[in-house]
Each structure stands twice: as structure tokens, then as C-alpha cells.
């Protein structure tokens, strides 16, 4: 067996990158070990190789590295992490190394963190309704097992509470199965991570959860690998162990900022707002690692969380995310300021997979039409409110006033619920009907007549 070679000719360090010269036979995307003068180990990956030189991104950052005395080993394979059922219950760093005081589980299964693209033909179209117990989600933006449904939030809004509530309450109606939760934190503060860990602990699911932390004080470049390590474990658990995995990724905006930082260190041509042109493809390589496989038992459901800078939904991060994910749960500042929890915006929120996961035999026959009608009527409320702001409420027609009443009730009764409150889908739809019953019968043009017959009850609504 020949000796392994360490290279010491660094021609430069820039941001999270080091440039290593005089190399030979180094593969693109290979994993790299970097040891500083004191022997401390860092991990990196090659981004570019030619006959002389390799460009390496260092996941732990380059702070404290110098061109002299740094030794670099090219390991000759891609970044892998061990995967095992026994990894549940533990806390890891972004590279999948335990940071809870105990050693790594001993297993012979190693998986490449970059995964492989799922063949679209091998996917199973997601159809199983997940009851989250939150009316705004279950009723109008249904989460489906195998879906990727992000939460678009703004700074200070309760996205973490909502995600924790989903993790705690999520149930499948058709079977008594519980979720495995994998939580990956990128660039968030420790208290956010603590909140999730506590919440998982209180609901007794921590033992079958795994937590990957790359907190605000970790080097930003580590955030780029964190969701990938988390999803690698998720894929193993879902597709090899047949488990149903809920992956929460927070905060994807921090992830994207790390990517921007890396791109600018490489001197790449930026597209919008300084983000690299490949942000879409890069995000897709994270988000598309969700779903179900034909003939497989398990599933990966993703709930990425991202904060929209200045609440701007057209910012590249939410924008490109929305193009990849199957809908989005948008939190609205105005509702939040009114003190409504969860402040889930009625109109811009959407679940693309909802149509196939609801209805007779899944939730209830009237579900789709109730949701469509609530959306349409609430859209009208928004228009009338805009009008009322100009002409004054007194000037509105009687019907418009009824709509305003409906709007308030919708927000205060349907949307608003307690952090501990777990509503069944029946309860959610019944509340929905109570709201719709505030409106005249003729206004319910999206609902079949027989359902109106069955559920419309103006007397109960006014009571």
C-alpha cells in the first residue's frame, strides 16, 4: 500500500476557498482533508480541477488557515456520512458528526451526501393526506405525504412554532403511523434549535428524530452541506428502512446567502441580487429530494422554512423556491400584527398536491369545493376591504358588508387557533361551513348544490 500524499503548496485563500497547486489526479467534487499547522482537521470539497490546481471549498471556513503550514489531502471520493436507524435521537453538526458528547454510531452503511436524482418514472405520485391539526393548512393548503411545502415567513414571525406544531401533530388518517422528524438548522441561533429540540422532547418524538445543526456561529459554508447530510439520512430511513420522514429545513435564506458568498468568492457572474445563476438548480437539488418511490413504503415530506428579506415574496430565494416546491405556506405580516396565530395568508398560500389528496375516502367529499369557495370569498373580502379603505365602510353595499363580516370571522375563527390546539379535518371543514354560512346561499357558486343542502346553515352561523 502506497503512502497518501499531502499537498502543501497553497497559492491562495479567498473567502471559504483555498487554491492548491502542484496536484495530480484529483477528481472533481472529491472530498478534501485540510490540516492546519496544529494538526486540526477540516473538511472540504473540490469545485474545480485542472492538471495543476484544485479549487477547494472548506466547510469549516478558512478562518485561521494560512498558506504556509496547511496540509491538504484529497481523499478520492465524494463526501459520505454513515447512515443507520440508530442515528435517531442524536444531534449532529452540518457534516453529520455527533455534537452531543457521544461518539458516532458504528455502521457499515455509508451514503454520498449529494444523493442521486430520482428517476421521475420511479416516483409514486403523493396522495396521502397528512392531518396537521391546523385549519389553514388542512382545510385550504393540505400537506400531502411526500410533498415539499415550504413556509415563507418574515423576520419575527412564528414560522418555527408552526413547523414545531406540524411536527408534533402530524398524523395520517388512514393508518396509525408516526413521523420520524429530521431537523436541519442553517445559520439560525441556538435558541431556535433549542426550541425545536424541547418541542420534540415534550411530545416524546425526540428518540426518533435527528437534528443537524449549523448554527449562526458556525462558518457559513457549512450551511451548504447541512441540508444534504440531513436529507441523506432521511433518504436512507425513508427508502431503505421504509419510514415516513418529515424534514424541516430552517432557514433556507441563510443557505442561499452562503451560496451567494461562495459564488462571489469564486468571482462568478451574478444574476439577480448577487445570487448565482445556478441558484435554481442548486435549490432543486435539495428540494427534489422529497417524495415517494414506486413499490417503496417510506416517504420524505419536506417543510423548508425561509424568511423573506423585507417580506418580499419576489426576492430570488422565495421566488425560486416557489418554482420548485409544490406550493407554499405564506405568513402575512398584517395578520401577525392583528395577533392572529397562525398568521397564514389566505390567498398567496397554496398546496399543489392538495387536489389529489382530499375528497371522498381521503378527507371529505365537500373538502375541495369548500376550500375553493373559501379562497374565492376571501379574495372578494380583500377587494372590498381595499374599497372600504377609500370610500368608507358606510358606503358599501349590504352584500359587501356581509362579506366584511365573513372576512373577520374567517380570520378570527377559522385561521386563528391555539399552538396546542389540534383540530381534526372534520372540525376544520365544519368551521369552514360555519364561515360560509354567513354568506348568502347564492354566493356559494363553487359548491355543488347537494353539499349546500347538507351543510349550509345560516341560523347556526349567526348564533
Amino acid at each position: 500500500m502506497s503512502a497518501e500524499i499531502e499537498y502543501t503548496n497553497l497559492s491562495g485563500i479567498a473567502g471559504p476557498l483555498i487554491f492548491v497547486d502542484g496536484i495530480r489526479g484529483v477528481g472533481y467534487g472529491d472530498i478534501v482533508e485540510i490540516r492546519d499547522a496544529s494538526g486540526e482537521l477540516r473538511t472540504g470539497q473540490t469545485l474545480e480541477v485542472d492538471e495543476q490546481r484544485a479549487v477547494v471549498q472548506v466547510y469549516e471556513g478558512t478562518s485561521g488557515l494560512s498558506v504556509k503550514g496547511t496540509r491538504v489531502t484529497f481523499v478520492g471520493r465524494a463526501l459520505e456520512i454513515p447512515v443507520d436507524r440508530d442515528m435517531l435521537g442524536r444531534v449532529y453538526d452540518g457534516l453529520g458528526r455527533p455534537i452531543d458528547g457521544a461518539p458516532q454510531v458504528i455502521t457499515d452503511r455509508m451514503m454520498n451526501v449529494n444523493g442521486l436524482p430520482i428517476n421521475p418514472w420511479s416516483r409514486e405520485y403523493p396522495r396521502d393526506f397528512i392531518q396537521t391539526g391546523i385549519s389553514a393548512i388542512d382545510g385550504m393548503n393540505t400537506l400531502i405525504r411526500g410533498q415539499k411545502l415550504p413556509i415563507f415567513s418574515g423576520s419575527g414571525m412564528p414560522h418555527n412554532r408552526i413547523a414545531a406544531q406540524i411536527a408534533r401533530q402530524a398524523r395520517i388518517l388512514t393508518a396509525e403511523e408516526e413521523f420520524t422528524v429530521i431537523f436541519a438548522a442553517m445559520g439560525v441561533k441556538f435558541d431556535v434549535a433549542r426550541f425545536f429540540i424541547d418541542s420534540l422532547e415534550e411530545s416524546g418524538v425526540l428518540t426518533h428524530s435527528a437534528i443537524f445543526l449549523s448554527l449562526a456561529d458556525s462558518p457559513s459554508i457549512e450551511r451548504l452541506v447541512t441540508p444534504r447530510t440531513a436529507l441523506t439520512l432521511a433518504e436512507y430511513l425513508a427508502f431503505e428502512e421504509g419510514m415516513h420522514v418529515l424534514v424541516i429545513l430552517t432557514d433556507m435564506t441563510n443557505y442561499c446567502e452562503a451560496l451567494r458568498e461562495l459564488s462571489s468568492s469564486r468571482g462568478e457572474i451574478p444574476s439577480r441580487k448577487g445570487y448565482p445563476g445556478y441558484l435554481y438548480s442548486d435549490l432543486a437539488s435539495v428540494y427534489e429530494r422529497a417524495g415517494r418511490l414506486k413499490g417503496g413504503k417510506g416517504s420524505i415530506t419536506q417543510v423548508p422554512i425561509l424568511t423573506m428579506p423585507s417580506d418580499d415574496i419576489s426576492h430570488p430565494v422565495p421566488d425560486l423556491t416557489g418554482y420548485i416546491t409544490e406550493g407554499q405556506i405564506v405568513l402575512e405580516r398584517a395578520l401577525f400584527n392583528k395577533g392572529i396565530y397562525p398568521p397564514i395568508a389566505g390567498l398567496p398560500s397554496l398546496s399543489r398536491l392538495m387536489k389529489d389528496g382530499i375528497g371522498e375516502g381521503r378527507t371529505r367529499k365537500d373538502h375541495g369545493q369548500v376550500a375553493a369557495q373559501l379562497f374565492a370569498s376571501y379574495a372578494k373580502v380583500k377587494r372590498i376591504r381595499a374599497l372600504a379603505a377609500i370610500v368608507g365602510e358606510e358606503e358599501l353595499s349590504d352584500l359587501d358588508k356581509v362579506y366584511l363580516k365573513f372576512g373577520t370571522a374567517f380570520e378570527e375563527i377559522f385561521l386563528r387557533q391555539d399552538y396546542e390546539e389540534n383540530r381534526s379535518i372534520e372540525q376544520t371543514l365544519d368551521i369552514g361551513w360555519r364561515m360560509l354560512s354567513l354568506l348568502p346561499r347564492d354566493e356559494l357558486y363553487r359548491i355543488a348544490r347537494e353539499d349546500i343542502q347538507k351543510y349550509y346553515m345560516p341560523e347556526a352561523a349567526s348564533a
Binding site: A3, Y7, D86, G89, A102, V105, E201, E202, G204
Partner: protein, 205 residues
């Protein structure tokens, strides 16, 4: 008008009124009492529910911790055990009959890939092999310069061969070999341990 009858009627009327007020009062009080009792009952129930959920939470927290701590303890114990075995083995490795040859081969193999100046770094305890390596390299190649140095950073053994002209270090230290193989070694040790425990269990049963 008869004063008395007027008086009487006023008295009667006021008495009736008083009775009515009293009755109303009593009714009101009764209702208040009931409300109050209901309120207390409600409060008690919420408290109970809250306490119960609090207790449930604490309980699952404890359960979670217990399970996890046990898992972690097990891993730590195994890890410590592996560490001890490895250290024991490494301490004794110099007296292994094949160690000298391993060292010679490692140094020579690396030096063969370096055309110019060569520096071989050895663990301080391996100083005795210095001259022998130096000699072997001189015979094998035509390096311009050969230096043998002691390196305190090498503990277990093996060597580093430095090609300063090209900025390369050929690492053949035992530390690095172990580092590269750690996963396999840990797996092996664990396997042995598991086989043992299973074997023992079947005997005791």
C-alpha cells in the same frame, strides 16, 4: 280616606316589594353561586388538563432522555473500549517483528517518487532507524540531499517523507493509517464484541 288602610296598603305593597327584592336577590345569589361553582369547576378542569399535559410532557421528556442517554452511554463505552485496545496495540507495535521492515518500505517507497531533496521525519522513539533509512535511500536513488529528522508530532510510529520542492508530504504515519482505517477497525471490534456477547449469552442460557 282611611289613613290606616292607606298605611296598610303601603305597608303591604312595600312588604311585597321587599319580598320580591329578597327573592330576586336570593335567586341572583343562587345563580352567582352556581356560576361561581361552575367557574371553579371549569378552572379545576383546565388546571387538571394543563397539569396532565404538563406531566405528560415532562414524562415523555424524561423517557426520551433516558432512552437517549442509555444509547449514548453504550456508544461511549464501546468507543472507550476500542480506544484502549488501539492504544495498547499501538504501544506495542514497535516490538512487532515486521515494524522495522514496514518503516523501511514506507520511507523507501515514498522517496522513490521524489527526484530531488528528501526529508524523512520519524517519531523520536524511532531515531534508531535513522541511519539505516538514510543508507537505504542513498543506495536506492540519486537524491541530492537526504535529511532524517525527529518529529514529536509523530507518536505511534511510521514516517513522513517530505518533498519540499513540489510541496508534497508522503504520509505513512501509523496515526494516519489508523485515521483512514478507523471506521473499519471500529466496525471490526464491535463485531467481535457482539459475537462474544451473543456467544456468552447462549452459554449462560
Amino acid at each position: 280616606m282611611d289613613n290606616t288602610s292607606l298605611e296598610n296598603s303601603i305597608k303591604r305593597a312595600s312588604e311585597e316589594m321587599i319580598a320580591e327584592i329578597r327573592e330576586k336577590e336570593a335567586r341572583e345569589l343562587g345563580r352567582l353561586d352556581e356560576d361561581y361553582a361552575a367557574e371553579i369547576e371549569r378552572f379545576r378542569k383546565t388546571m387538571e388538563a394543563e397539569t396532565r399535559s404538563r406531566m405528560d410532557q415532562e414524562l415523555s421528556r424524561l423517557e426520551n432522555r433516558a432512552v437517549l442517554e442509555r444509547k449514548k452511554l453504550k456508544l461511549t463505552t464501546v468507543e472507550r473500549f476500542i480506544q484502549r485496545i488501539v492504544e495498547d496495540v499501538m504501544r506495542g507495535i514497535r516490538s512487532h517483528p515486521r515494524y522495522r521492515q514496514f518503516l523501511m518500505d514506507a520511507a523507501a517507497g515514498a522517496a522513490a517518487q521524489i527526484p530531488e531533496n528528501v526529508e524523512v521525519r520519524l517519531a523520536p522513539d524511532d531515531g534508531v532507524y535513522g541511519n539505516e533509512i538514510d543508507e537505504a535511500l542513498r543506495i536506492a536513488g540519486d537524491h541530492r540531499q537526504i535529511r532524517i529528522e525527529a518529529d514529536a508530532a509523530i507518536g505511534w510510529g511510521g514516517c513522513l517523507v517530505v518533498d519540499s520542492a513540489r510541496g508534497r508530504i508522503f504520509n505513512r504515519t501509523l496515526e494516519r493509517i489508523y485515521f483512514r482505517k478507523a471506521l473499519q477497525i471500529r466496525r471490526k471490534v464491535l463485531q467481535v464484541l457482539q459475537d462474544r456477547t451473543e456467544g456468552k449469552e447462549s452459554v449462560t442460557r
